[in-house]
Amino acid sequence: MELIKANEAVVKAAILAGCTQYYGYPITPASEVAMASAKYLPKVGGTFLQAESEVAAINMVYGASGAGARVMTASSGPGISLKQEGVSYMAASELPCVIVDVMRAGPGLGNIWPEQGDWNQVVHGGGHGNYKVIVLTPNCAQEMCDLTILAFELAEKYRTPVYLLTDAYIGQMMEPVNFPKERVKPARKDWALYADADSHKNLVSSIFMSTGGLEEHNIHLQEKYAEIEKNEVRYQEVMVEDADLVMIGYGFISRMLLSVTEILREEGYKVGLLRPITAFPFCSKRLEELAGQGKTFLDVELSNGQMLRDVRLAVGKDATVHFYNRMGGIVPSVEELTNVARGYLK
């Protein structure tokens, strides 16, 4: 058991997951991921390279992944915007990688405090074309470890970029983490470029010029996303069964909502918490089910309601979905959220 900063847990977990490469450009509040990578990767024979930009970084990730490496990068809002071209290329070329987005407040330069304004550009694809990426939303240091390891597995299993969508608060936290005792030894991939005789016929590319070729590729990608939706939905429920009001939040907000749940349960209110762990695939089916049971929802976000659209879509127009948000780096207090939730329970 370690007591470790969540942003550092990501790096150690990545290395234990077999990651050997990190390419990135510094940005607060994601720099700690870069700094920990710079500290540890060279010690285990890996590469840390500070790229000239996020654009270059994601393309180095593309190259490393094409060459068969487990590879990672990290950034925050403005840098994620710049990476989108590369993410689209990777999704199209079906290259695995792990991207950590430690969200900060926007739009524009905004500020470096926590927000959840990257949901749209990460979950719904900020780059061009018909692609999706798997998005995991850890809410504690242990999950920053576990979901990082899972991210590398899913990335390779489905040959896709996988995001770890987190925020400035989660990243700063120190909590106990139990790391695995062994390092994953990834199997050789039959599609990657190993610069040897067995792989020299391989081609990593996203261009499809033959008639219908690109449509076929698009259909293949959509089938893959359907498969991911079938297999990989993850969420956590706390006292949802008998709840009248189900609160929904991810990342740091879910930690606050856990406190709210405890306080209101003690007061005798039937309130519960649903926390999406995967943002794509989203727990739409479960939400639909809960809406069918007549539950009311309260969606809490540090954004203008970017996840709310997915929640509304899932529960249908007959369900009542309340919404509470703060933006611009302001995080509500537990007391504030408790009052909001209590208001919908009277």
Binding site: G63, M174, H200
Partner: protein, 487 residues
């Protein structure tokens, strides 16, 4: 055209199946320079026996389909990003021979940052820069390398210095950098030009195979279609119009003198990896008994002071000590708008249950090391809570009467020991002696962890003991119930 003198090399596919059908001709226009450049590269790879190790990075431009032809590892890059993609490949596979092949739009415009930095890092790759002074693929638009007066579809009246500046001389720019080992400009306008290019191509690839570093070969290349000229005129245009602006010459060549460098990738055992990651520093938890854990009520702390007083570390050490009892713990530093009053502070929560918000607003225990901290947080402390005041620095008393307060000269005690910075450990020692919440022994075990210098580690333990001693000597009876007594 001199292209007839070239045989089809083995590193070229016999027929271009990737192009569709069983085609034997390339997709390039008649008289285009790309085909010749391709052949020179394939031939060099072939002759040097590097085909299996070669990875060709194709750009976006007319040569986007280079993978139709090159029978080697192929990776297609986004517009301008080939040197970054090549970097990722090379760092992952140091044994690879990376060929980065780019046009002028790709390299000199959209990818100018990527090429400059790959060159400056001395990436072990060979870059072939096809300068045809125009965007061939997209319909003959102006390039950064287009000549002054050159008419293109986006400079229909001719390029002017005032509007678009001067043609970008990439080889010259590359040669100003220290890292590149070899920089040459050549051309494909006649047989001599092609033979010079052939030599340059071979040198660049050989350099890479020998670990000499980054080589850059700029190749002036005809684009009869984009220039709206016959093949013959296009070659003449290179000689009469381009060469004066883009002289063909060796700008830099340290191939003979450069020390070879090969990146080694060591293999580590799991144990070596765990050690490198500095895991296992806290050791195994040593819980006292189940009753303790079962009866534990959640404790929330705020440690505040100015930077250098070690308040953040105090929180970490307390959390780590509590982990010895298998408690859930969280630590979070002040961050964002919640940073107030010029103080550093952190929140710590200890609980037997999963911890919700790690942010502590109303602490059970507040420890303040300086005046602003007391002023800022005094009123947040829960009624009945414990306030610890560093009386070495804070002269005033609290106005609160509904709390338990300890005034301890933390800084003085630490200074007397010769390590003022250990005031935070004095604080923890005093706190645990006073409340008996967690065993002092555990704190003494944790306090020196992670400190490399032995005397520093010893001092920390000494500080913990000094804090505890102060409490034993100065506090006779507790004024109020201490929080969460051990069951």
């Amino acid at each position: 055209m001199a292209k007839d003198i070239l045989q089809k090399p083995g590193a070229f596919f016999d027929q271009f199946d990737r192009k569709g059908g069983a085609q034997k001709t390339t997709h390039y226009c008649p008289g285009c320079g790309h085909g010749n450049a391709h052949k020179l590269i394939a031939e060099a790879i072939d002759d040097m026996g590097l085909q299996d190790r070669a990875v060709f990075v194709s750009p976006v431009g007319c040569s986007v389909f280079a993978y139709y032809y090159f029978d080697m590892g192929n990776i297609q890059a986004a517009h301008g990003r080939a040197p970054a993609v090549g970097t990722g490949v090379k760092r992952t596979r140091p044994n690879s021979i990376v060929i980065s092949y780019q046009g002028d739009g790709d390299l000199a415009s959209i990818g100018s940052a990527e090429i400059l930095h790959a060159a400056n890092r001395g990436e072990q790759m060979a870059v072939f820069f096809i300068n045809n002074a125009i965007y061939g693929m997209t319909g003959g638009q102006m390039a950064a390398t287009s000549l002054i007066g050159q008419k293109t579809t986006t400079s229909p009246y001719g390029r002017t210095v005032e509007n678009e500046g001067y043609p970008m001389q990439m080889a010259e720019i590359m040669a100003t950098l220290r890292a590149p080992v070899f920089v040459q400009r050549c051309h494909l306008a006649d047989s001599k030009g092609i033979m010079d290019t052939r030599k340059a191509v071979r040198k660049a690839i050989k350099n890479q195979a020998e670990g000499k570093g980054f080589s850059f070969v700029e190749i002036l290349s005809p684009c009869p279609t984009g220039w709206k000229m016959s093949t013959h005129d296009a070659c003449e245009y290179i000689k009469t119009n381009m060469l004066p602006i883009f002289p063909a010459k060796v700008f830099k060549d340290e191939s003979e003198t450069r020390e070879p460098f090969f990146r080694e990738i060591p293999t580590l055992t799991d144990e070596q990896v765990i050690k490198a990651l500095e895991l296992g520093m806290l050791g195994e938890p040593q819980p006292r008994d189940e009753k303790f854990l079962k009866n534990f009520t959640t404790m929330k702390y705020k440690f505040a002071g100015f930077g250098g007083q070690g308040v953040l570390t105090a929180g970490v050490i307390l959390a780590a000590t509590a982990m010895q009892e298998n408690l859930q713990v969280s630590w979070i530093p002040s961050y964002g708008p919640e940073m107030r009053g010029g103080t550093a502070n952190c929140s710590v929560v200890l609980s037997k249950d999963p911890i919700g918000s790690p942010l502590v607003v109303k602490p059970d225990v507040l420890a303040v090391m300086n005046d602003p901290s007391l002023d800022t947080f005094e009123n947040d402390l829960k009624p009945g809570g414990l306030l610890i005041v560093n009386s070495s620095i804070i002269a005033r008393k609290t106005k609160r009467t509904d709390i338990d307060t300890l005034y301890i000269p933390l800084t003085d005690i630490a200074s007397k020991m010769g390590l003022t910075a250990a005031a935070n450990m004095v604080l923890l020692g005093a706190y645990l002696e006073y409340t008996k919440l967690l065993p002092l022994e555990h704190l003494k075990l944790i306090a020196p962890r992670g400190l490399k210098r032995k005397e520093l580690a010893d001092k920390n333990v000494e500080a913990v003991e000094a804090g505890a001693k102060w409490v034993r000597e100065n506090i006779t009876a507790k004024k109020t119930k201490a929080p969460a007594p051990v069951a």
